[in-house]
Symmetry: C3
Subunit: 164 residues, 3 copies
């Protein structure tokens, strides 16, 4: 592999570590949000990071914490729910990165469990003094709206979808 | 990254290898249990390892093998099932580690497939002469019982929930 | 770890990179197929690679592209769907590798989302001048047919199931 041959051990280690750190961050979202840990969820983002979902656009830690503490989300937890995110494909470019994954929201109710929604997730991450954080996460429900497949395609090719 | 700068190549490689080995171990559980390979499932645990589930507490290889060979589990396989575990978040501390992930049990029946349950999984692992093995896996159904979000929170923060 | 002690840093890095590259490849399938990117889906395979599914056997890029462009698959995308693949267990042996994972096809319809099927996936991959590519992917629905658990077992043990 000539590409690998021209990279130093340090560069190769750093590339593996960056991909691992970003995968770890994304793997932590579901457990944190399903346990209602509002501050820890928000801390996955930069202080002014954005969580752009279908129905709303959350800007900054306070807005993300408020979503976790909302009646709607707390109701999901009280009834039982799992935000299960698939393994992300991560593309690192220096101190910026793009990741993509699909996710399922499975909720418990009187008739047992059901899939409330499947979502396309595009992540723009940035590395700062505290390590990798989410700059913008964009999620769109995979219910036929064209934005959702668009997010998957852009993410799979390592392309950003925001200008921030 | 000053933290990385003070670690040797050997230490950084070993950290990546440990996380990879644990992720691999967890990724093998679903395929093994859904194919009914009782001995290989049990071998993911230490000889006296524990699988603490809602309805029961399995201690040691023989008990775990018996679960896989039970009428209930064999019935799931015969009808068709998938234990799908999400990508774990792994926290390594020397020869001990904690991992957390959510899982779905999807089962086939007369009306097609459905989600039988979503579960919170907390893993305590230990490294021995044979590599990483499960010391205690604790699973609780995400149906509103408070133990399940507790497991997710503790796991996401890399904290153990057992004293063994 | 004596096994690690006898391997060079180069060998250990290369092993981690191979596992990462294969996991990345597999993590890209879902986002690409759910966004209908036929050419990029096909390019995950070798030019004469095989996608052996229950109902059919696709040989080569043109056949795989045609599947993505088919009325059936395009209908799934238009209504909304997620091919969610679990984290694979990867076993590398030189320039050949085996991976295994389960997957869910979640589809949107008039009554919301439901799990259309759960599938056992066995991957045989090969490394060439362009990096890792799929030689043969074999998928069987986990609906009780014995081939599906067989694929999971063989994949979990790192064994191939094809002769190509």
């Amino acid at each position: 592999m000539s590409a690998e041959g021209s990279r130093t051990v340090e560069e190769r280690l750093a590339a593996l570590e960056a991909a691992r750190a970003i995968s770890d961050l994304i793997a932590t979202y579901g457990p944190l949000v399903d346990s209602g840990d509002a501050e820890a969820v928000a801390a996955l983002w930069e202080p002014d990071g954005i969580y752009d979902i279908d129905e709303t656009r959350l800007e900054g830690h306070a807005a993300i914490e408020a979503m976790v503490r909302s009646r709607g989300h707390q109701g999901l937890i009280a009834a039982g729910c799992a935000h299960l995110l698939g393994p992300p494909r991560v593309t690192v470019d220096g101190d910026e990165a793009v990741a993509v994954c699909q996710s399922l929201l499975v909720a418990h109710g009187e008739k047992g469990f059901r899939v409330l929604r499947a979502t396309a997730n595009h992540w723009h991450l940035r590395r700062g003094p505290a390590g990798w954080r989410v700059r913008v996460r964009t999620g769109r429900v995979l219910d036929g709206r064209t934005e959702a497949p668009y997010l998957l395609a852009e993410g799979a090719h390592g392309r950003r979808v925001d200008e921030t």
